[in-house]
């Protein structure tokens, strides 16, 4: 047989696996990526801590110990302590309803959940002023009953809840949808009540996603500036959260104190990321198992 063509020799060279760029190219790409990250993420972060601690640890603690600063930290913790659980309940119920049931207006609900992501936080704050402010729709009525929302803690909490409410729901909806309703149906057919099914099957199935959502939600709740700034009124020692306090200190040229508070917020971000990574690493198998199926 002579009519069988020999395989064209130069063909082999064309089918290179995707990841065989020459070493020089690889090194270059890695360096560019790292330089970019270093310049825009690591450097600012390091400089925040550097500035905060430049006069020593004692000065750092002293800067945080000011009455107004301490009250800002307290208020931030309080706001997070209310808004995160509120969004936990909201996020769970909303994603549960969206993933497990069919109902009218479902796509509208999904769109609404994303609204805070697309609305500028300042606008969000203004909406609350329009609703609850002294000249707002409900302000006079609330004032009659001695309830103050705007320029007070309730307004800050409401604005924070608004801004952070997609975080948990967004984490949960895709995973709950992927898991479907079979596990729940199995539990019901085995005699479990609705509550038992929720707490013993639905919730454990999403616990890692839920934890991520809570971490992210908390980081944003403590760090929110725009919406809170509009409704807070900046009353010193009363309605200033940590981010607002940073701005005040900065505007008053108290750089060291400003950086001290800012470094706490940066620390929060770092801790959030580290905890997230540890969870991912420690429970990789279990997380994989809950996602698979």
């Amino acid at each position: 047989m002579t009519d069988i063509a020999a395989p064209a020799p130069h063909h082999a060279a064309r089918f290179q696996p995707a990841a065989t760029e020459r070493p020089a190219v690889r090194v270059l790409l890695t360096v560019v990526a790292l330089a970019f990250l270093g310049l825009f993420l690591v450097l600012p972060l390091v400089s925040v801590f550097y500035e905060a601690l430049s006069a020593g640890f004692g000065a750092f603690v002293k800067a945080l110990g000011g009455r107004e600063t301490a009250s800002a930290i307290e208020l931030t913790l309080l706001v997070a302590a209310i808004s995160v659980p509120a969004n936990l309940v909201f996020g769970l119920t909303a994603s549960w309803a969206i993933a497990k049931f069919e109902f009218r207006g479902k796509s509208l609900l999904i769109t609404l959940i994303d609204l805070p992501f697309s609305v500028s936080p300042v606008t969000a704050g203004l909406i609350y002023v329009l609703m609850f402010g002294a000249q707002g729709y409900l302000g006079p009525l609330l004032a009659e009953h001695g309830i103050k929302v705007i320029f007070a803690v309730p307004g800050i909490v409401l604005a924070t809840i608004f801004v952070t409410f997609p975080f948990i729901a967004r984490e949960l909806i895709p995973i709950m949808q992927a898991q479907g309703t079979q596990d729940e149906e199995a539990a019901l057919s085995l005699g479990a009540s609705g509550w038992q099914t929720f707490f013993r099957v639905t919730l454990p199935n999403v616990k890692w996603a839920l934890l991520y959502g809570v971490l992210l939600c908390n980081a944003r709740a403590m760090g929110e500036f725009g919406a809170v700034s509009v409704v807070s009124g900046h009353i010193r020692g009363k309605t200033n959260t940590m981010p607002l306090q940073v701005e005040i200190l900065y505007n008053e040229y108290m750089y060291r104190a400003a950086f001290a508070v800012a470094s706490l917020l940066a620390l929060l971000a770092l801790v959030t990321l580290i905890v997230k990574s540890i969870l991912e690493w420690r429970y990789a198998d279990e997380i994989a198992a809950t996602r698979r199926h």
């Binding site: 079979q182 149906e185 199995a186 539990a187 005699g191 009540s193 013993r200 099957v201 809950t290």
Partner: protein
């Protein structure tokens, strides 16, 4: 997976008394597309019934209605003569085995099987030691002893499905419902599990509904087979009834390979495309009908005697014989026949054949 051995004689299991089930004109619409059209069926206590039908024929819907996971649009369901539709899922006491197992992935095998017992109200919940005894007993029954600490992801498909069965049996169900339980498993595991399920059924005596689209599985496993198509029951009967006395062209073609051709009966003879086929029936009035035959039940007709004739459009090896695909009649319909290897002729050849065994269905 570890091979399934025959069950030991002393392996028995407590059971909820099996009930007979009456399905009476049950219909189901999803929106405006009907999934079931008034289905009726009576099943005796302890019977193993296979629901057999192509995908989309309404098998799962019927099963879910029995379980209480879906409400029918019309009709009645009785368990042991009592209305079941008023009972919520939790109170129906039904073991449901899902096609994709639906094991609780964050629980061990042990906790999965124990689940139905541990969610009971305190008054009717067995003591911890008793739950343990029962779970280990069930593990033995499904031949997974020693795997109680594993998680579902650490099991093979066949093992997972056996855990799912043990979990369903743990609640001592009155009725066992299995929705294509072996559908996701490979052929050999399926065969093992099939025989083993039959043994478990014979031992435990649950009234069992078994959904499958695999005719071999249905015919081998079930006391009675319910053939479904497009939301209706086409036939209910034993494997022999279904195979030898199919009630409709659908059943005939769904069970085994077959060809269906439109024919006209005239003066006691079956004609196809205006030509006599050489087949006779004892009815004389003219009417249109459907002729059904299986590829292996035909003989070739060499001479000009009456026969069905067609051109060979494809041939392929089929077991020990060769399968010919023919284009027959004026409408170029497809017919399949088997011939001996060596008898075949080139594509395009005109061949004549006559069914040896065949059935006539009303058109």
């Amino acid at each position: 997976m570890n091979a399934l051995t025959p069950l030991e004689a002393e392996t028995s299991i407590a059971l909820g008394a099996p009930v007979d089930v009456t399905i009476d004109a049950v219909a189901k619409d999803f929106g405006d597309s009907p999934a079931l059209f008034g289905v009726s069926l009576d099943v005796r206590a302890g019977e193993l019934v296979a629901l057999l039908g192509p995908s989309g024929s309404g098998k799962t819907t019927l099963l879910r209605i029995l379980a209480g996971l879906e409400a029918p649009s019309a009709g009645r369901v009785l368990f042991g003569g009592e209305d079941a539709l008023g009972l919520p899922v939790q109170d129906r006491n039904i073991g449901f085995v899902f096609q994709h197992y639906a094991l609780f992935r964050h629980m061990t095998v042990f906790d999965n099987i124990a689940f139905g017992l541990t969610v009971r109200p305190r008054a009717s919940r067995p003591a911890k030691a008793e739950i343990r005894r029962r779970v280990l007993h069930l593990l033995n029954l499904v031949q997974l002893t020693g795997l109680e600490k594993r998680y579902p992801t650490q099991l093979s498909g066949g093992q997972r499905q056996r855990v799912a069965l043990a979990r369903a049996l743990a609640i001592e169900p009155r009725l066992l419902l299995l929705d294509e339980p072996f559908g996701a498993l490979d052929a050999q595991v399926r065969k093992d599990l099939r025989r083993w399920l039959r043994e478990i059924h014979d031992r435990t005596g649950h009234t069992t509904f078994f959904v499958t689209h695999d005719q071999e599985e249905a015919l081998e496993l079930a006391d009675r087979v319910v053939v479904m198509s497009k939301g209706r029951i086409e036939q209910v009967g034993s494997a022999d009834d279904i195979y030898d006395r199919p009630a409709s062209p659908f059943v005939f073609s769904f069970i085994g390979e077959s060809t269906l051709l439109p024919v006209v009966i005239e003066g006691g003879a079956v004609t196809f495309g205006g030509d006599p086929t050489g087949l006779d029936v004892n009815k004389t009035e003219r009417r249109e009908a459907v002729l059904g035959f299986r590829p292996h039940d035909v003989t070739l007709v060499e001479d000009d005697a009456p026969a069905i004739r067609g051109r060979i459009v494809a041939t392929r090896r089929h077991g020990g014989r060769r399968r010919l695909e023919l284009q027959v009649g004026p409408d170029h319909l497809r017919a399949e026949i088997d011939v001996e290897v060596g008898d075949e002729q080139p594509l395009g050849t005109l061949v004549g054949f006559r069914p040896q065994r065949w059935r006539i269905f009303p058109a």
